[in-house]
Amino acid sequence: GGTEANNADATETYTVATDNNFVPFEFMNEETGEMEGFDIDLIKAIAEEAGFEINIESMKFDGVVSGMQSGRFDIGIAGMTITEERKETIDFSDPYYDAGLMIAVSEDNNEIESEADLAGKKVGTRSGTTSEQYIKDNHPDAELVTFPGIVEAYMDLESGRLDAVMYDVPNVQYYVANDAAGLKTVGEILQGEQYGIAFPQDSELVEDVNTALQTLIDNGTYDDIYEEWFGERKYGTESSE
Amino acid sequence: MISVKNLHKSFGDTEVLKGIEAEIAEKEVVCVIGPSGSGKSTFLRCLNLLEEITSGDVYIEGDNIADKKININEVRSRVGMVFQHFNLFPHRTVLENITLGPIKVKGMNKQEAEKVALPLLEKVGLSDKAHVYPESLSGGQKQRVAIARSLAMEPRIMLFDEPTSALDPELVGDVLEVMKDLAKEGMTMVVVTHEMGFAKEVGDRVLFMDEGIIMEEDTPDNIFDNPQNPRTQEFLSKVL
């Protein structure tokens, strides 16, 4: 696969697969057309710390997952939840973000107040995600609709064709904060999850990246980035500047 | 029966008929000759309103068909037309070609229409072809079916536009034979043709058209043997 080829490469430029639209982790800046977000800043900082070059390629989420599995990319950072199932085919770094799933409904929806009310309702999410698996496992009586992109799910919710959307917390919160959408969150954070950076199995990069990540956490760079995107300092470190 | 007064017809800016005057009596057989592009077809087509008349009057049995208020379809079922290229309906059998008009226009049922059609097929000598499709007929047979199709509407007048000029020479005779029979039965006919033999034998009168008007008209004998107009003379010298 590409891993060995790229490891042998003296310039050490790695291809990083990322999701094409998962605010605020990675998304396209409306003005510049560049990818930006928490994941993007973090992987750039890690690359600098660990001393390699990166080349970011964005795609639909299921493309990231199958691309990592097939060894197509060297690194994947896409708000990807660490799961036992994925670990069978993909290597993960140490967790870098605590996440979970959350339900969004229309602002004027009073029927759904928590996940207990999902039975018989149309619930949208994105194909190949932990949300899809969660709904299948815990709400077999809900009508699951999976889209190739999460935006289409929110749009369907906004138009009233879906009753609820379940997806990763920070993303749901971002959309709810967008007035244009007219959405609100309900219930608790479901299924505590952690995001990890993905690698093809047996990648030699895992250790380097873990070391670099720890250094960034220790020296406050991680918190700088976290603060920029989420408005707080997770580990309470001093700003590195 | 037909009375044409100062008939003009233009396509866009080009005037094709420039004031035709003609009177055709009942049971008369009139042949129209003239060089290509002189307006013969256009004249004929104005007589059953396949072309809109630009100005002038055309009376058919007393009704002015240039009048916009006239019922075109009613006029057309009084005036039959036979075309150079037959224009049979290829997706219908010979019999269906003939019965379509009676059924759809006259409101006959199938049996009634066939009772009209079968004798006509016999008349044109094609009784055995009733149930075949036009593609399997020769050109001469097609034209005879086309004549039968027109006759099925029991027209008072028949128009023929070069009915034999798309036929192989050996097939012309049968079609002319059918037309002669029609003439003998007293049908009023206007025939655009290059068959001078037919004009001489059957025609009561010949009109010579050129440049959108009728330049000369006379009996066939006079016109062929002793044309007066120099244009007629020139035309006949080339054709005969």
């Binding site: 999976t146 | 037309m81 997706h91 509407m153």
Partner: protein, 218 residues
């Protein structure tokens, strides 16, 4: 035997068969409506009335000039965004196929009617039929025969176009294949079977149409 039933090629089939049902349903219903639209706009394109002709031309050009993916998104999201009217995704898919195929069929109808010899109209009128009767009994039956090959071709195109409706989560053939490899990662096997399913319909159709065409030629 276990070797076969264990393989992805085998396990993906129940998914694909379900998808195929939707694919065919959307295609067939969409094309029936599309044919009606096509006939109406095809005749409108033959009209001498400038307004009718103009409207039909704008429809045909706008549809043929934009991707069907943009059209489905427009119908599904754009219209509901503008009007607040929500149509479900199957209806939206059927409408998209109908509108899209309608524009192409309009050109098929126009071309076929136009190709019928002008003498047929004249012959019809000269036996006393009205313009409409001649169109109905003489021109249309002949034109329709000539439309069979291009209509069959449009069926193949529309069938393939339904694959795009996976963006709005329509559970058609390709979407079901994607679902399968989304959870198993067996992209090659799933997509191979998806393609075979399409070919199973499109190739016999193409072969049959070529035969019809040859027969009509004679």
């Amino acid at each position: 035997m276990e070797f076969i039933t264990e393989s992805h090629y085998y396990r993906v089939m129940p998914f694909l068969l379900e998808g195929l049902v939707w694919t065919l349903l959307i295609t067939v219903v969409g094309l029936i409506i599309g044919f009606i639209l096509g006939a109406i706009f095809g005749f409108a394109r033959l009209s001498h009335n400038k307004i009718i002709y103009g409207i039909a031309t704008v429809y045909v050009e706008a549809v043929r000039g934009t991707p069907i993916l943009a059209q489905i998104l427009f119908i599904y999201f754009g219209l509901s965004d503008l009007t607040g009217i929500n149509i479900d995704k199957i209806s939206a898919s059927i409408i998209a196929i109908a509108i899209n195929a309608g524009a192409y069929i309009a050109e098929i109808v126009r071309g076929a009617v136009y190709s019928i010899d002008k003498g047929q109209m004249e012959a019809g009128r000269s036996v006393g039929l009205t313009r409409n009767q001649t169109m109905r009994y003489i021109i249309w039956p002949q034109a329709f025969r000539r439309m069979i090959p291009p209509l069959g071709n449009q069926f193949v195109i529309s069938l393939k176009d339904t694959s795009l409706f996976s963006v709005i989560a329509v559970t058609e053939l390709l979407y079901m294949g994607q679902q399968y490899y989304g959870s198993t990662f067996a992209a090659f096997e799933a997509l191979t079977m998806v393609c075979l399913m399409y070919l199973l319909i499109t190739v016999p159709t193409a072969v049959y149409l070529r035969r019809v065409e040859r027969r009509l030629d004679v």
